[in-house]
């Protein structure tokens, strides 16, 4: 995938790039898809990224004119994110306000390209970042009409932090170094897709533990999981116990026959109070 393969109103893409000049065409394409749907556009980047966006190109050629008309806002990264003391709730307020203003101004929504590399390089910021990405994902799915591409510059971001951030996006572009699973908000709960195996189970558990979930029953749709091994099942069981400790109950939905059989063989039906539902039930 070297251009966004899907473009929908609630997109939440993670894009890993190597330099500003190779990223600019991807950003332009993502924004152009929004423009075609009548959305307001917002580009958040560093000076190099903003400069690359303004270079002549065939897709979205008239950046200066779009900015002049107020269709496209170009914001330096420290104007949109308070790096150093990142606050997910304030950040959400920022985007919620911007999206509502866009809709009030007659646009169908807000489409954002944000180079969030500076956030990801904050020391110890992995948990905050993952939490933010989860909140944002929920907001994109259920909020007033925002979609976003979160871009990370490889080489500047610790691979472990990059992997954690990539894992919480429903759509990921990165040639390597990303986990084989993804977790995102979907239909009132969380969904997971891909592979949950021994090599990434601890990581999956960290992502699940950092997820912003509430309510007495937390649903996790596993119907798009391609493969899960004993360590992956154990990560789910550990999350179920962690939820149980705060009086929430995990409900695994969309499980296969083998999933249910394995859950039982491993004894997790006895060790957790998780509800395990078959696909289609």
């Amino acid at each position: 995938m070297d251009r966004p393969a899907v473009a929908g109103p609630a997109d939440h893409l993670c894009w890993v790039f190597d330099d500003a000049s190779s990223f600019a065409p991807v950003a332009r394409q993502f924004l152009a898809d929004g423009l075609a749907r009548g959305e307001r556009l917002l580009f958040v980047g560093d000076a190099e990224g903003i400069d690359a966006l303004r270079q002549p190109a065939t897709v979205l050629p008239d950046v200066g004119e779009l900015v002049a008309r107020g269709v496209l806002h170009v914001v330096p990264v420290d104007g949109a994110y308070r790096t150093g003391q990142f606050d997910a709730d304030r950040q959400l307020e920022f985007y919620d306000g911007a999206t509502r203003r866009a809709v009030a101004d007659g646009y169908t929504g807000l489409r954002v390209v944000a180079d969030v590399t500076p956030l990801a390089v904050d020391p110890g910021g992995e948990a905050d970042l993952v939490r933010w990405e989860h909140l944002a994902d929920d907001f994109f799915a259920h909020g007033p009409g925002m979609s976003a591409m979160c871009a990370y510059r490889r080489g500047r971001v610790d691979p472990a932090v990059l992997a954690a951030a990539a894992a919480v996006h429903p759509q990921v572009h990165a040639p390597d170094d990303v986990p084989p699973f993804r977790v995102w908000f979907d239909d009132g709960g969380l969904a997971v897709a891909g592979v949950l195996d021994a090599f990434d189970a601890d990581h999956a558990l960290r992502v699940l533990l950092a997820s912003h979930v509430a309510g007495p029953v937390v649903r996790l749709d596993v119907s798009r999981v391609e493969f899960v091994d004993a360590a992956g099942y154990r990560a789910l069981a550990r999350w179920a116990q962690a939820l149980q400790a705060r009086s929430a109950r995990l409900c695994l939905v969309g499980t296969s026959r083998l999933f249910r059989r394995t859950w039982q063989v491993l004894g997790f039906d006895q060790l957790t109070d998780a509800i395990v539902e078959a696909a289609g039930s």
């Binding site: 021994a198 090599f199 493969f227 360590a231 069981a237 296969s256 026959r257 083998l258 063989v265």
Partner: protein
């Protein structure tokens, strides 16, 4: 010494004996008194036999059968590596209930295939290894001398310190403690000289291993959940190689004895011969992979020595 005087005293330790029989009459002549003496002593009596023997025994025990717990060996012990956890759970239940246990178990029943009988031999040795230092109980293992290959019955005389049969009671030499490690580290019989498919694997190759196993499984005519289960088992075994077996391993696949075979080899040394045979711990600690493989697969043959580890998984087709 007669059977009844042996049984009059409570078991002092794990007493593991074999009973050799030539026909139904001799089977019942050994097993029925053993069961009745247990009932008379208020022992919990649990019988794990293939279905035909269960029927025979139920009829012979008549009303006494109601006090006996019966399990179908061909179901709970289809893969011989699953049987030990069954006994372990039964022993734990009876210890918790404050009762003595008397078990009858026929792992090596007639109809088992050659590689299964080999695993039954290792299983009998592992019973000694697992229970010798634990709570006292008695286990009687019937062997069909007419239906089984003579080597299997000779093997049973080497895995049981005592046995009975048409010629009476025999107390053999104690089974040496080294026998388990010897059997556990002995190489498996060489694969047949049929074309083999395979590959080596290391970190990062797990998706390719899973794909290769799925292709093999489908080429054997398996489908749906059986393919998925075999892929899961294979992934656990290849992961063990990568994580604990020196970082790499090799997979080969072939057909033999009416089954599809996958074999995983690596340079690691698994020192615990009971690995994967005990029921998993009651917390969320790791180490459930081999146990899961044993539960999912029809036959699992695990051997390990300082020279390396081999796990051969057979799916009956």
């Amino acid at each position: 010494m007669t059977a009844s005087t042996v049984a009059a005293r409570p078991a002092a330790r794990f007493e593991h004996s074999a009973h050799f029989y030539g026909d139904d009459h001799e089977f019942l002549a050994g097993v029925v008194p053993f069961v009745r003496e247990g009932l008379a002593a208020d022992d919990a009596v649990v019988v794990v036999e293939p279905a035909r023997r269960l029927t025979l025994l139920r009829e012979a025990l008549a009303d006494d059968a109601a006090a006996v717990q019966f399990h179908d060996m061909a179901a709970v012990g289809a893969n011989p590596a699953r049987i030990l956890a069954v006994w372990q759970e039964i022993v734990a239940q009876q210890v918790a209930a404050g009762r003595t246990l008397r078990g009858v178990g026929e792992p090596a029943f007639v109809g088992r295939r050659e590689p299964e009988l080999l695993e039954c031999h290792l299983h009998e040795l592992l019973l000694n290894h697992a229970f010798d230092s634990g709570a006292p109980w008695r286990l009687l293992c019937p062997y069909d001398e007419q239906g089984l290959p003579p080597a299997v019955c000779d093997g049973a005389r080497a895995t049981h310190p005592a046995w009975s049969g048409a010629t009476g009671q025999v107390h053999g030499p104690a089974v040496p403690g080294t026998a388990v490690q010897a059997a556990f580290s002995a190489p498996l019989p060489a694969p047949p000289r049929t074309p083999q498919r395979g590959r080596s694997y290391r970190t990062g190759d797990l998706p390719a291993v899973r794909q290769l196993v799925a292709e093999n499984a489908r080429s054997w005519g398996l489908s749906g959940e059986r393919v998925e289960a075999l892929v899961l088992a294979a992934s656990e075994l290849a992961t063990n190689s990568v994580r604990h077996g020196g970082g790499e391993g090799a997979l080969s696949a072939w057909r033999d004895f009416g089954g599809g075979v996958l074999e995983f080899t690596d340079g690691g040394h698994l020192t615990d011969p009971l690995a994967g045979r005990r029921a998993p711990s009651k917390d969320l600690a790791g180490g459930r992979g081999l146990y899961l493989v044993n539960q999912l697969c029809d036959l699992v043959q695990l051997r390990s020595s300082p020279a390396g580890t081999t796990v051969r998984v057979t799916t009956w087709l």
